[in-house]
Symmetry: D3
Subunit: 304 residues, 6 copies
Amino acid sequence: MNHSTKFSMSYHDSPAIWKSLLLQGVKEDGWPWDWTSLGIQPKSASVKARIIAKSDGIWAAEGLVAALSLVAPELGTASRARELLTASSRVRTGTRFKKTQTVCEWKGIPELVLALERPFLNLAAYACGVATATRRIVELVRKACPERTPRITATRKTLPGYRDIAIHSVIAGGGYSHRVNLAGGVLVKENHIASAGSVSKAVTAARRIAPHGLKIEVEVRSERELSEALRAQADVVMLDNFSPKEVRNAVALVERSSHRPLIEVSGGLNENTIAAYAMPGVDILSLGGLTHSVRAADLSLLVT
Amino acid sequence: MNHSTKFSMSYHDSPAIWKSLLLQGVKEDGWPWDWTSLGIQPKSASVKARIIAKSDGIWAAEGLVAALSLVAPELGTASRARELLTASSRVRTGTRFKKTQTVCEWKGIPELVLALERPFLNLAAYACGVATATRRIVELVRKACPERTPRITATRKTLPGYRDIAIHSVIAGGGYSHRVNLAGGVLVKENHIASAGSVSKAVTAARRIAPHGLKIEVEVRSERELSEALRAQADVVMLDNFSPKEVRNAVALVERSSHRPLIEVSGGLNENTIAAYAMPGVDILSLGGLTHSVRAADLSLLVT
Amino acid sequence: MNHSTKFSMSYHDSPAIWKSLLLQGVKEDGWPWDWTSLGIQPKSASVKARIIAKSDGIWAAEGLVAALSLVAPELGTASRARELLTASSRVRTGTRFKKTQTVCEWKGIPELVLALERPFLNLAAYACGVATATRRIVELVRKACPERTPRITATRKTLPGYRDIAIHSVIAGGGYSHRVNLAGGVLVKENHIASAGSVSKAVTAARRIAPHGLKIEVEVRSERELSEALRAQADVVMLDNFSPKEVRNAVALVERSSHRPLIEVSGGLNENTIAAYAMPGVDILSLGGLTHSVRAADLSLLVT
Amino acid sequence: MNHSTKFSMSYHDSPAIWKSLLLQGVKEDGWPWDWTSLGIQPKSASVKARIIAKSDGIWAAEGLVAALSLVAPELGTASRARELLTASSRVRTGTRFKKTQTVCEWKGIPELVLALERPFLNLAAYACGVATATRRIVELVRKACPERTPRITATRKTLPGYRDIAIHSVIAGGGYSHRVNLAGGVLVKENHIASAGSVSKAVTAARRIAPHGLKIEVEVRSERELSEALRAQADVVMLDNFSPKEVRNAVALVERSSHRPLIEVSGGLNENTIAAYAMPGVDILSLGGLTHSVRAADLSLLVT
Amino acid sequence: MNHSTKFSMSYHDSPAIWKSLLLQGVKEDGWPWDWTSLGIQPKSASVKARIIAKSDGIWAAEGLVAALSLVAPELGTASRARELLTASSRVRTGTRFKKTQTVCEWKGIPELVLALERPFLNLAAYACGVATATRRIVELVRKACPERTPRITATRKTLPGYRDIAIHSVIAGGGYSHRVNLAGGVLVKENHIASAGSVSKAVTAARRIAPHGLKIEVEVRSERELSEALRAQADVVMLDNFSPKEVRNAVALVERSSHRPLIEVSGGLNENTIAAYAMPGVDILSLGGLTHSVRAADLSLLVT
Amino acid sequence: MNHSTKFSMSYHDSPAIWKSLLLQGVKEDGWPWDWTSLGIQPKSASVKARIIAKSDGIWAAEGLVAALSLVAPELGTASRARELLTASSRVRTGTRFKKTQTVCEWKGIPELVLALERPFLNLAAYACGVATATRRIVELVRKACPERTPRITATRKTLPGYRDIAIHSVIAGGGYSHRVNLAGGVLVKENHIASAGSVSKAVTAARRIAPHGLKIEVEVRSERELSEALRAQADVVMLDNFSPKEVRNAVALVERSSHRPLIEVSGGLNENTIAAYAMPGVDILSLGGLTHSVRAADLSLLVT
């Protein structure tokens, strides 16, 4: 499985995945009833502001910056409609920023800068937090296994409304989507096997109904289940909660078999444990924690 | 400032704050095109399932459990409409659960149990994660300052769409809302002071327009600004990024003054630093991290 | 309580509070199936139109005029996309217009002028109606009590979907928001006191849970209840359905007390009765009628 | 034109026209963050409440009462889901209520009664206000012209989002819809005539495109235009801003003509002027004021 | 009944009826997760594309082309926001295109061209399919009955969400709307007659409640019912499932009667049968099949 | 590729895919302003109705029938809330109905039966039309190629808003989904190959970014391109616009090759041509016409 992070970021960092969340953030925040600001006559009709990083990380918000100029006209005041708000990223999505660096710049009317500051930061801090944690894992894995490096994937453990943002941010960090949603992949788990009666029956059932373009992946919890999955011609096997040693044995078993599915390892993977699992023969390492437990990036807006 | 966590939880843990997110989660997850499950004929028309905790924590999802029965009829199949899904919490919102404990029980048709499993867990894990972290902070503060214990508050650092869930979860953990949104409180910050020309002018401007039921809170970054805020008759002062010693001096300054506003401390507060700031005279301690960097509670569903 | 109507109107007259209502108006009106107009080939590709006042009043629709240019591209025809519709206010929100005066001017393609005419007028007539009635009350109060003039506030008696428009229009008329909604203020009423057991218990309960930035207001219906509210350290007292004489006595009682809450008068206030209640010591006069019984301003569109 | 108000009210007083507005009202009101109530433990799990009329009027909210039970489950708390809220009208839509009368009764959990009180009253007061004013006009017309009594119709002067509620309320008062929206009727006005070049050309243009089931109505401002409309075979003529005497002449002119369209009178009609226009030969009297300037009915909720 | 297809198309081919469907199409299509395209670096920042017809037909998508430029900014990538997508029709709505002809041209960034291709084609193929089939019927009718040619109308047999698109497309083909929806016309059918007790009672009931601008149309299934409808002064009669000979007799019956309603023929009309029904005296021919069974026009996009 | 149509239909015929379209249909239809029915007092509070087939077909609307009871309470009148509407299918989704057969039965209040009749029929006729046409194709293919029968798949040629309904209906007819949307499959087409530079480069690019569970399908237009696709290790090849003879040669080429991808045939397939393409070795036959050109099933509602 050959792969790399050198691809065009343009699609998935589209304003489309940000705009409605950004606008929802402004509305949820009670704007335009910002009583603190309403009484103050701004000193000038236009201000500049910078988003400053307060720690190192990976930028994942170019599309969000682009969405600012889509949202501004929905909020902008009557008399100064043309100036509203413009913003530009100083960092490309997927690349590194340093503490104290200016990651993007805004220019616009003070009311809109204040209205959009908090919702923008809340979204950007989440996305960059995901990207930064992903990159850390990707680098650990590359270092531990520089040849046939396994790919890092996210899971479906994302907050409702944030699936797209989460996948985008994982990709920005150098990771991959596992499946966008249930319609975009097949993963036979314990409950399916129990319902169907056996691994083989569950695989057959899935193959009978799933679109022909989807591979059949099977989660296994033991070497015995792995053997069943191999017999059932699973296209991918997921080794769930295996120890590194058990993974090594499983890889050997697969490589001896006439049928060579992709091998995914899952369960208990994090910054501390990942290196031990990053071994040749493992194709995919998947981590729920990349998206369910996010440490926000530290960003703040400075009016200049 | 007298307060306690003994209050009715019924309101803010209403299905109203959960239902649309839960339904959005199911849709975003590509249901009903769950190819893995579609081909399998379930063994029985009804199954039981339990949500199991895999670590200790604070429950914050009673309302979410209630929302399950609102969402099920929107998904339920034609021929078995009456059985669909029922669920009940075994733990009250705001109370503790232990590792291995069953926190709630489901009974319903297999298709709906599978459809709702992941979106439910994603939401519950977030809410309980927030509540658990809040409770930890609340207990540290109580221990450090058992008399005139400061109140812990969240901030506006929440993902768009999750403000209500976040506030609810903080309250479930024993904390408080700072302000629901810009319309529900006044907080004069650096940028407002700069625009208005002085602390006093910014306070006057806010008082001139804000509803009469809102207090005027002023963020100060030095003892000099604190003195200005006292002169401007601020109702609340927020000491931003003060060291514990500076806080102590500030409290003394306020208590010597003829005007006694509430005192809030903010900036750099976390599990490691909070005890040093929990001192008599401080009324409020606010932490962005409670809601911007959430460690998901570890919950899983077991079909039984 | 010092206040004035000289503040920036820009925020709360944002297109954000108008756009979706304006678009909803067009859709609800059955456009584009305007059979009367569809068959007529307009004489020119562009027309001018003016909104004319047919009676005196206060303008409150600058933001609505701005929203026209946001809505037009959603309706505009293919071949003339650039000309669509531009509009500008000739009067600033919050200022007076005279009968026969042109309050704003439009220029655009005839189809859009016709499509937007009725929804625009319906909204503008409502907002200006509220602002005009508010201004009348404000002026009566100023005249009756030129020193320590009480502030006029609206209530929560607004049609669903029109809370923002109503508050905006009251402010445009020189009045104030009471509380934007339940999350933005505390008002302990008869039912709360009955549930809690006493004024004091209800106040304590509210203080225990409400954000620290909210004052506690208590509605009282007698001098006895007023005394209880003073003892409970209410931050604001609302004298409900007091006669002017009872108000005078209540003010005296409060001013003798060691605790000086703000005093609000409510109940039965209208153009005929307001002057009698506008007395020094009263801080707030609130009127439901400003928003629940609105006399539309008389405006019409003239194609020129 | 024979007509009467004795018809089934069931359709148009459907919950369908109320439910989303009622729910919007609750959300807009900041619920569930009702800080005033949140801290109070209700004395009992269920309360009764009554809606009391404080003045005479016409009831128009049976469907709104029905909508209460659709909205309650979206808000209801987890532990008491079955009791939530039930409500029943004591008065039928379209019939009279008296001051001090109980118009409907509620029973449910205290939190929901409080949450729904204000949005319900805001909607009911509007609808009953419209119905009451309409009935007053209908009765004046009946008295002035007991034979061949003209029908009273509303106009398109309604707030966006309230077209259905407004038409319903007018019908509840004994009036009629003019046209639901632009797609449901043809009304050739001054601007159309100017664009088309003549009354005759505008009528021809409308007839060429409009569905065959729509009559062609023409607004005329003089006897000359009336003659043109008669020659153009208009199906309905609207006499705009005619004096009573001019109306009488116009009726005579029409009755002498070979073509007998329906005759509508419009412009300047209100409680004071309507009797003078209610004459045999006039088929329709239309009043914008029924819906653009509404005096809310005086209703309040009493927890018992 | 005089009519023609020479009218301005601008109104009903507005972007308003297309925009939300086009955007919904893109979202439903899983964009931005177009895995096939994401990994490919486009050769140039901008491409041109043409929509080519693969068979003859009638164009009905000018407004859809206009909607492209409204939707593009919601999807467009950050770094090339200004170029996005422009598109122009080479054919006017309502006019003929030939096989191999370019019907419109696009220019924009490759990602957006690919994202919008399929949703655009799906909508355009439907609309042009309806228009093309309508035109075929219109021409058959004109040929069969060149004098007093009956008008062709659509019905309410349209997919939810597509009523506006369907009516627009029928008009583009030279047909007419029957009624936009239930609020825009009266059609007394079998069930109404059964409920009311007789044709005459049903007509009276409708006339008593319907807006005065709506004609009363009655569906009749026999000559006896036709006679009743004539006696009840129906404004329009619909001959349902009459043979051509029965229609001829019915027309004669109507023309002998003192009351001359419009005559509509409905039931079993299609390309094979229509000519036999197209006779003088028949005013309207209505066909459900124009909108319920649509043969998509054959269009494809070619990147150049 | 082994497959069969014997699977549980419960999931994908869920009310979830029907409810909002059904409700949208009712609203779009102008209900509750059904003037024709409003004036008629129904003879009884409850009626029965049957949906009758007027031609043979395949039923695909069990879930839609279930959705009726979800939609009814949103429309139902106040005084008879419990009876509203119940409905049950007499035919299982995926099975055959005969002309004159009753496919489902309704019981409820007359107003709701009338309100839901047309939107229900419009949706059911579409879905059953798709299922019926699919079944016809499936049977032709089975007959032509009883061993190793190719699977029939739909495409992405569906109206915005109808993707789920279309896939469901194709499956009900015995066909398969190709890919739900762009996120659920990879299909490298001409434009991708041109952008990437070669088949091999396009396949590599897709494999580099796509989730590991997706197969890589390549559309080829000649034997040369097929050879390239085989060399690039495509998982599926789509033979686009090949003649039956060319398909036969291509199958032979593939079966000689060391790499055996799935073979799909596409382009110009319909009832007349399908048998010639249904040959052993072909795994998938895909037809856009199943969903882009739908002949509605002939269904009608009879009140009994």
